[in-house]
Amino acid sequence: MKRSSFALYNLRETPEPDLLAGARSLWQEEVGLDEERIRRRLEQLLIVAVDPETSAIAGVSTSFLATPPRLEVPMWNYRTFVAGDQRQRNAAFDLFLASFDWHQQRFASGRDTRGLGLYAEIENQGLNRYHTEAHWPITGLSFVGINERGDFCRLRYFEGARLDEFDPGERRLP
């Protein structure tokens, strides 16, 4: 993996209070999420990217376990949000790769094999219109359809993932 130009912090493993507060502010001020949705996102928070020059939060990633209905297998449902003034610096790629690596390592070690890969429903229509490769080479995400809201769905499985080895009791995506 290429070296990131951001400082990346895994808040799932080490929940730094200052960064949690920064993520909360980002969702509140730039996305306009209400308190309930912010609380849920904080529970799902995974990686925070920080601009090393300004110490500002450049972006955040979240993941939660659910089963996309059409796939019928549990996946880590992945979201990312990049601050408006950081969108030209590939923070989204860095966040994805750090998030995937962390989940992949846990899967490979047997520490957490509940999800078979990362699954993203991409709401950013600019991304969908301009990055139209069926398979994104940098992230390894492949297009697998469009959901009811018109978001593009992409996924990448973990190495060694098997469709016959997962917990079928995980909740389904709406």
Binding site: L71, E72, Q125, E133, A134, H135, L155
Partner: protein, 167 residues
């Protein structure tokens, strides 16, 4: 490879010789896979032949361009195979799928086709090959079609989604 599993796979040229066309036509008639008037259309889609240890024809593979509803009607090469009952095992089916991917990906169609897609309707295949990404071909599990078929796909390099203006 044991004799029991012996299967040789041949690539079919774009314009198969008449003797081969007749052999394949007889095979399809015998195996019940050919309806009236379908011979020329199916020959145009023919890509691979599978032969048993004595050189007898035991299987065929073909592909054709199709818009896939489960993929928002994106254009894919829909890959199909037919094996005689005696030779129809998951291992052999997988060998044909892998050979199909190698052939299609080495010379992808010169059009908007994004990649190769297999509709899996034989429950023995996912039971024998439960990997989310099939190791030989790289075809990944992309869910289930409305009719219940499991979908496996892999994209050719640098192919772009087709929208016709509206995403």
């Amino acid at each position: 490879m044991s004799v029991e599993n012996a299967l040789s796979i041949e690539t079919v040229s774009a314009f198969p010789a008449s003797a081969l066309r007749e052999e394949v036509g007889r095979f399809w008639m015998r195996e019940g896979g050919l309806a009236e008037g379908q011979l020329e259309r199916r020959l145009a889609r023919l890509r691979l032949l599978a032969r048993g240890p004595d050189g007898e024809l035991v299987g065929t593979c073909g592909s054709h361009g199709a818009a896939i509803p489960a993929l928002a009607n994106q254009p894919m090469q829909l890959f199909r195979y037919l094996l005689t009952e005696a030779f129809d095992t998951p291992d052999r089916a997988m060998r044909l799928i892998e050979a199909g991917w190698r052939q299609l990906s080495s010379s992808p169609p010169d059009d908007d086709t994004l990649g190769m897609l297999v509709r899996v309707t034989d429950a023995r295949l996912p039971a024998a090959f439960p990997q989310a990404v099939w190791p030989g071909s790289g075809l990944l599990h992309a869910g289930r079609a409305p009719d219940g078929a499991l979908l496996r796909l892999r994209y050719f390099e640098n192919r772009r989604l087709q929208w016709g203006g509206d995403a």
